[in-house]
């Protein structure tokens, strides 16, 4: 579905944030990338969504080379981003967010989402159609961010810390909605802060630390937490044992 080969990216040419990212997400499923703050999770998702141009490497979506595409082209090809901080439009209402975003005309094969379907998925939004983004709770904002992304009829949904800072019931609702998306043919790639958050979304997790990706690792059994700790040890001069970090 999504193949990334030897990808490097960063905000300045001389200081890459991501190094040699190689991963093959074959299954239409929920995939997670866990890593501490500053590991490069947001950079990875923004690069895949076209907001950042990779310095080297390849990105293939269903066999099609989408490396370095603009966000507009990426969105039209079926890559949607539900960014961290939600990035809603403050002057638009909930209903306007969902109607101004439309599926692309020239992609009849992909699963499209009617506004009513999305309100069924997130009933909390149905009661707040005339409210503006900043009047919503954090959970409702996250739901609107995901609903807006789904309106573009994506094949790949990139979610940056989808349950960060949410009340437990809201987090459970968002998690449930994301886990359900592969049944509709939507692959989800979610960035999460730690392996415990990854375990609620998927059975395996990729660990991103210091700009390098390892995995997949089973989320059960504490292996993923151990891998994360090893990566942290890698960048700490007190514990010089880099060999064990890369399995």
């Amino acid at each position: 579905m999504l193949r990334i080969g030897d990808l490097a990216a960063g905000y300045r040419p001389d200081t890459p944030v991501l190094h040699h990212i190689t991963v093959d997400l074959a299954a239409v499923a929920v995939h997670t990338v866990a890593g501490p703050n500053g590991a490069g999770k947001t950079t990875l998702l923004h690069t895949l969504a076209g907001h950042l141009r990779p310095t080297t490497g390849r990105v293939l979506l269903d066999g099609r080379d989408v490396t370095g595409w603009t966000p507009v082209r990426a969105a039209r090809t079926g890559v949607a981003l539900a960014p961290q901080g939600r990035r809603l439009w403050p002057s638009l209402t909930v209903a306007e967010h969902l109607t101004v975003t439309r599926p692309p005309v020239r992609r009849p094969d992909s699963r499209t989402w009617a506004v009513d379907e999305l309100l069924e998925m997130f009933p909390a939004l149905a009661a707040r159609l005339r409210h503006r983004g900043h009047q919503l709770s954090g959970g409702e904002q996250q739901m609107l961010t995901i609903a807006r992304a789904l309106r573009t009829a994506p094949r790949l949904l990139l979610c940056d810390e989808p349950t960060e800072g949410l009340a437990p019931t809201m987090a459970a609702h968002v998690t449930h909605a994301l886990r359900d998306l592969p049944c509709h043919g939507v692959t989800v790639l979610a960035a999460v802060p730690h392996a415990r958050a990854a375990a609620t979304l998927s059975d395996t997790v990729y660990v991103l630390a210091d700009g390098r990706l390892t995995g997949p690792i089973a989320t059960s059994g504490g292996q993923a937490e151990q891998a994360l700790r090893d990566h942290l040890a890698l960048v700490s001069p007190a514990l010089p044992n880099p060999g064990q970090a890369h399995r």
């Binding site: 603009t70 969105a75 002057s91 638009l92 503006r132 992304a149």
Partner: protein, 287 residues
């Protein structure tokens, strides 16, 4: 009483015309970051074209208004093409480019229409005066007021009830997320500049029965528009409308009531607004 009432109605009409002109300027800045210093030239171009076209008949008046809006839109299109090439190089480069366009445009307009102040010939009905509640009032100014109210209302409907308007507001808020839903924000920028040009041309045409159009029209219109944009908050249409009405009233009532203070009134009022606000521009109040 008439000494205050008539300038007050004039001020509201003039304020609405300034609002029509400045709304496009503020949205173009808010959406695409284009500080269009040729905006006043588009207003003057609309005024000249309208004054030259309107010959005292209704069809020529309609043609004058349509041509003025068309000339403004064409100018907006030229500016959109020119500033698109400078995207990502900062406000200063774009300001310099549009300033150059303004200088060239002003010279071309003077070459074409001379350096006299022109006034359009209107149909006779509009040249008369009417008595309303005991006050005599020129019909043309009431007509301008009515058209201005209609244009402002139409602008509100377009911004809030159409997909194009919602996309414009979304682009002012967060253009990267507009790209993220598969809409090219540069297309929105270009559409905003064309629409802003059309509104500037229209405002220029509507101003000519009141003020005429001459070599100073472009500079005055640009200065007042910039004052409105700064006082109203960059990118905010309701802010521009409020500020424009205030500027219109200060310019007419203030000047007729306190002639000695006339040159300082507007700048003084702007200083008061900026001091009172002090904080950063209101976020979330845009469009």
């Amino acid at each position: 009483m008439d000494a205050y009432l008539i300038p007050a109605v004039d001020g509201v009409a003039y304020g609405l015309l300034l609002a029509i002109a400045a709304a496009g300027l503020t949205v173009a800045f808010g959406a695409g970051g284009v500080l269009n210093l040729a905006h006043g030239t588009l207003i003057a171009a609309g005024g000249y074209v309208a004054a030259a076209t309107s010959s005292g008949t209704w069809p020529s008046l309609a043609a004058a208004v349509a041509l003025a809006a068309g000339v403004g839109a064409a100018g907006g299109g030229v500016l959109a093409a020119a500033t698109a090439a400078l995207q990502g190089r900062g406000h200063l480069d774009q300001a310099l480019l549009t300033f150059g366009v303004a200088l060239v445009g002003a010279d071309l307009l003077t070459a074409a229409y001379g350096s006299d102040t022109l006034r359009p010939r209107l149909p006779e009905v509009l040249e008369a005066t009417v008595r309303i509640a005991g006050h005599r009032y020129p019909v043309d100014r009431l007509a301008v007021l009515g058209v201005a109210v209609a244009v402002v209302a139409a602008g509100y409907v377009v911004l809030h009830r159409t997909r194009a308007g919602r996309l414009i507001r979304a682009t002012v808020d967060d253009r990267a997320m507009v790209a993220g839903i598969g809409v090219n924000p540069r297309l929105v920028d270009a559409a905003v500049l064309v629409a802003a040009g059309a509104l500037a041309g229209l405002a220029g045409a509507l101003t000519t029965p009141i003020l005429g159009v001459g070599p100073h029209t472009a500079d005055t219109a640009l200065l007042l528009s910039l004052i409105i944009v700064v006082c109203g908050g960059l990118g905010s249409v309701p802010g521009a409308l409020t500020a424009a009405l205030a500027v219109g009233v200060v310019q007419t009532v203030g000047v007729t009531s306190f002639p000695a203070l006339a040159p300082y009134l507007l700048i003084g009022a702007m200083a008061v607004v900026l001091l009172a606000r002090r904080t950063s521009l209101p976020a979330g109040a845009s469009a």
